[in-house]
Symmetry: D2
Subunit: 397 residues, 4 copies
């Protein structure tokens, strides 16, 4: 309903078979050097992963900057980015009449009180997430200037789950190694064996003319404490992350830290003990990170750990029972070209959305209208965090 | 970051030991007859449930209207509601120096770069949820005029889970019976035996000087299809519900419909087949409700089903290791008067937050500046939904 | 600070010498047939008028649709429009060091704490108003479906003022004739003689190497009563119109109805008597329209009448004293290619901004997610207005 | 429609004859020492001035803090302030049927499609401005910590205008003297003779059973440059000031700096030459201040100068022609207890609204979550402004 303590505005435009998708990002400081190749790399990652349909092989997404840049750097004005669609046939495509269960098709008919499924699905399509990745890749570049690094990967596909071998706390530097491991797998998980088993799940679904979902996880290392707020319900960072993740098509659950498991543990098992100040970081260390880096809607200096559960793709090769809205009769659902599994792509989109929310929170807390000012304030913020952590004998007025 | 397709603005003010808590609700139509006794009943429900500390026995919350009402009806202007605190000692209370793991204490020190834990916890306290219940009770009264009824209950406490005996679809009338069952239990769950076992969990925690959490569930029956939107990420109703639920103190996970379980099912198991139009409802029926009433960020005519997982209370009778910020030394965490288990209260707060989000979505979609206009448009909306469902042979232009 | 009772979101992107300017418009109903030629016509009008520099002759602005349209109609999703720039030299252009008094140059240096005048002026340039006209032309097409028509013209240039020959109330149909008169003049005023005298002012300024401003006026005929709100300060329609007009570069004053003159009149001279219901309109007639169609932040059924005063262009052919920020020494201000007088263009931009605010207020009050639903509600709204006007003996329910 | 670069949220609740009026202010830093006596003094000023009716003599407004304060200082959470009404008879007061021209009465009937004038006027009443003064007085205290001081006074009443004896630039210290002069006059203007002549206008109106308006002016001395933005139309500070002033009941025009007069001057007469850096201030001096301190939507270091024109009170002792909505017949307008002239009060409200907008812009630009952090950043901001002004030879990286 009503935001506060926010500085970044992010919105998208464009349809699945229109000319392009567009991301508009407002509130960035002046002077951020934009690495468009890194943006393109994220776009390509979004198009990859096993289980993807023909479209992803057809498109070769690349960013085009419409506004907000001079000589490769942001100038503070709205950053407007575009990716062209290869298949701009929105005016020619047929008008489906048999809504697919699980998709926007039928709910959209009710929202717009018509049977124009085409107009609804063109925007509700996962193609829109391309614009999110555009903006998210920019957010990641901003976070990098504060040594914060987000990292999204596939935690499970269908019944195959990556067993947890990731420390609760990652050093920023450790993430690079994890990225290499991830990018070497077909499914964007962390080891080849698990990826192979996940791939088998996807292939099995293909044989059954069915689809599968899974769980994606996003972490952020190097995240400063004190971001977010506990002042108003919609200012809490956990609420904003939950919204950002749940807004990704097909996501049906969001967890932070221990998530649902926390509900069945004792308080003494789930709250993370606070340890005295030590070298290597500004905030007080914890002996565990069950909270996933968030307490009372604010970051606490630990790694952010969030997960999102994706239901299987709702366009099934073997369609489910539906109704033909042309005459109200029972019919099988329509079929649009689609993927069997989009969990890998979802891990990229989730990383983008988390990056956007965190970049917003970081900018809102630290402030600064140029990268120079932001950088100077960042140093001061870090020093103040350390003073708080060391205890008041070290405090200057 | 940036809202749209929203009409209701909801915010709260007030501290735990200040004079009062306040809810401000903007965007209600003129002419809603406000039942203040029903609001008070929700306030009392929030104060009940097993496992509550001394404070809940001390306060006897009752609503006071500051603005927005004439002769018992809303007049369209901001509705401002207040509940007085009995224990208005904010200026006298001591200043804790040993932050409690899991609470706002330490993260707040980093956000404000001070050691003023008192100023942070006074607002981060669960007392603020009293204002949410104030506003939520109003939202429920608005929903009732459209025959929509929300219903929150306790799904689990610690390791004790209520086995699912609730149909995926509830008639609005069936909810009244469930409410009676719920309100007859100590824990706000649905049967006495489960409630007793839950109570035993709480008592066991008390004996261990520990705390427990649990899972709350909220349903909404009678909800119109076509609410929410798939147009912009922050407009999706699933995203808004996730934010609203995650913003409740101590919530660490949110699920919609099958939630996490959906990630391990096949598409053919998780998408809800669409059946031809039949008597008794405007929207097309489904043979299941795995989606929890939401597809692509919009309601589909089925019951809304959401769950939220609450971690155990972070104030432990037997405190966890912490640090004394006065000198930086290791120390046990401080203790503020608190509950052992607040899952029952959380079910009331969750019902309130869901009601607020749904009332917002309903008002945004149906519109109307008076209850008369809202009511007339509602009838038209229902009729149009039915026309869509019946198929186009029945469609008039 | 915080909006409410609003449904249309409008924002722009793009720089003066970047690749393009972009307008993003969210909240339009599905099904509006977009006349892109009419948009182009407004773009051309913005480029015309006497006193324009070389740039306007170089650009031939034409709209390109990036998203939100299918088969020529809006589909409800964000409408994203683009106009290309011919002179996309932002990376090559020199970096001015001598700020121009009256422009963003120096204030921008203070906002961004740098001397990067180029990065500031690229966005602060009047080229951005091209995106406003894009969006405004769409808003006008929406207003037209409700028989509301906005009309902007030049009221004065420098010391030459168009003497008022326009009735306080215009029929919608009368506006077409006024438009023809306006478009036949070089300066977008209402008669050739006045236009000639205005042109002489511009030419005189040119000879003096100086610049001139003027006053633009916008009217709206056919505007429904009851739009806007008196409930919260930022919801008032007069406040929103004032913001929208004052946001146009170089505008220094905004008036509604009698405006400043009202401050020196008696109440009996300035308030518009209410007459009994009569044929031809739904709302009660007035014997005058000093209020300019707005009472207490809401439309009252009369024509909207607003004016905005534009200061002279701040880039002077004969530069004013300034400072060279390279070394802090006194220097003459820099010179960028510019116009002598932009009042005609400002009348187009003002018409656009007023149209956007009114379309927003109309959509917010009437509602409807498709043009069909909007149209049906519009008829009901009109009928209800008439019932109110006729007095309660005619009231049903 | 959509804000950005804003941090302060300000809204009000309460009706004219309800129990109270309420202001909620979010976004203040923690640690601002609140002087409630100074707030009460502004409330009393609002009740004063010649031409006020019986109500102002009846109420003795005093602030009561509902939330956001501990030990006299803000704690960062929403500041919620209340003033009680003496005349809380909203449920008993009669329901007018004869709308007053110029007031919300008739437009409200159209907005709510009813004849419930009472429900509309209770909120549209000028009593709501009491809540604005509450919040504005807090904003002034925040501005004071940055040595910025706003000053509102009456520029004209009816045909009597205070001749300009105020320098374009006031030192912060000079404002105190002007305040004394102002507060010594009955009408809140700057000298006794003018005040007497203004008073005569009011008395003349009273004899004629008529009402009068006037012009209020607000200045701000000590205002930092670089506040506001030129990036998006709704971010411009001139637009926000225009909205804030136009939102005050009965305001029909807003001017900045030379305002309307600028439209008839040459560019060389109206733009303020920039002079080399000199002692005594951080920003580059100007030889004039025609711009009123704002260029391209940003402050430039000069005094802010704005004016707002108020129409005469719309409740006339000798009512204007109207219609009785009970039966649709011609009738004289109704009469509610009212003032003859409220220009003095409007000068207080205008000062409050300007203070709120400036405090918002200052907080948004400088940032800081505590007064300590705000203060430290303020010093850095001032130093950086000076470096920019001195020219780049003085610039460090």
């Amino acid at each position: 309903m009503n935001p506060l303590t926010s500085r970044l505005s992010f919105r998208t435009a464009g349809e699945s078979h229109g000319g392009c998708v567009v991301a508009m990002l407002e509130g960035l400081p002046r002077g951020l050097l934009l690495d468009t190749k890194a943006i393109d790399a994220e776009l390509r990652r979004r198009q990859g992963g096993a289980g993807r349909g023909g479209r992803q092989r057809m498109e070769h997404d690349a960013v085009k900057v419409l506004g907000g840049l001079r000589r490769g750097r942001t100038i503070g004005s709205p950053l407007c980015l575009l990716v062209e669609n290869r298949d701009a046939t929105i005016d020619e495509l047929p008008e489906p009449t048999r809504p697919r269960p699980g998709h926007a098709d039928l709910a959209g008919c009710y929202r717009w009180l018509d049977r124009d499924i085409r107009s609804t699905l063109e925007r509700a399509s996962a193609r829109e997430t391309c614009a999110r990745v555009l903006a998210g890749a920019v957010a990641m570049q901003l976070l990098a200037t504060a040594d914060a690094v987000t990292f999204g990967f596939v935690r499970s596909v269908h019944r195959v789950r990556l067993l947890d071998s990731i420390p609760g706390e990652l050093a920023t530097s450790a993430v690079a190694a994890l990225r290499l491991r991830r990018d070497a797998t077909a499914l964007y998980t962390l080891d080849a064996a698990t990826s192979d088993r996940m791939l088998a799940e996807v292939q099995e679904a293909g044989r059954k003319q069915d689809t599968v979902g899974g769980i994606v996880e996003v972490r952020c290392a190097g995240l400063l404490p004190g971001l977010g707020s506990c002042l108003q319900w919609h200012e809490r960072l956990d609420a904003r992350l939950a919204a950002a993740l749940m807004s990704i098509p097909a996501i049906k659950a969001v967890e932070i830290g221990d998530g649902i498991a926390a509900a069945a543990l004792f308080g003494s098992e789930v709250h993370d003990p606070i340890l005295p100040f030590g070298p290597g970081r500004e905030s007080l260390p914890r002996s565990s990170n069950h909270a996933g880096g968030l307490e009372a809607g604010m970051t606490n200096g630990e790694n952010l750990v969030v997960r999102a559960a994706m239901k299987p793709i709702s366009t099934l090769p073997q369609p489910l029972p539906s109704v033909d809205l042309a005459d109200g009769s029972a019919a099988l659902a329509g079929y649009e070209r689609s993927d069997l599994c989009a969990v890998s792509a979802a891990s990229v989109v989730a990383e983008s959305m988390v990056s956007l929310v965190l970049a917003d929170a970081l900018l809102a807390r630290v402030g600064g209208e140029t990268m120079d000012e932001f950088g100077a304030r960042l140093l001061q913020f870090r020093a103040a965090i350390e003073r708080v952590s060391r205890g008041s004998s070290s405090q200057k007025s």
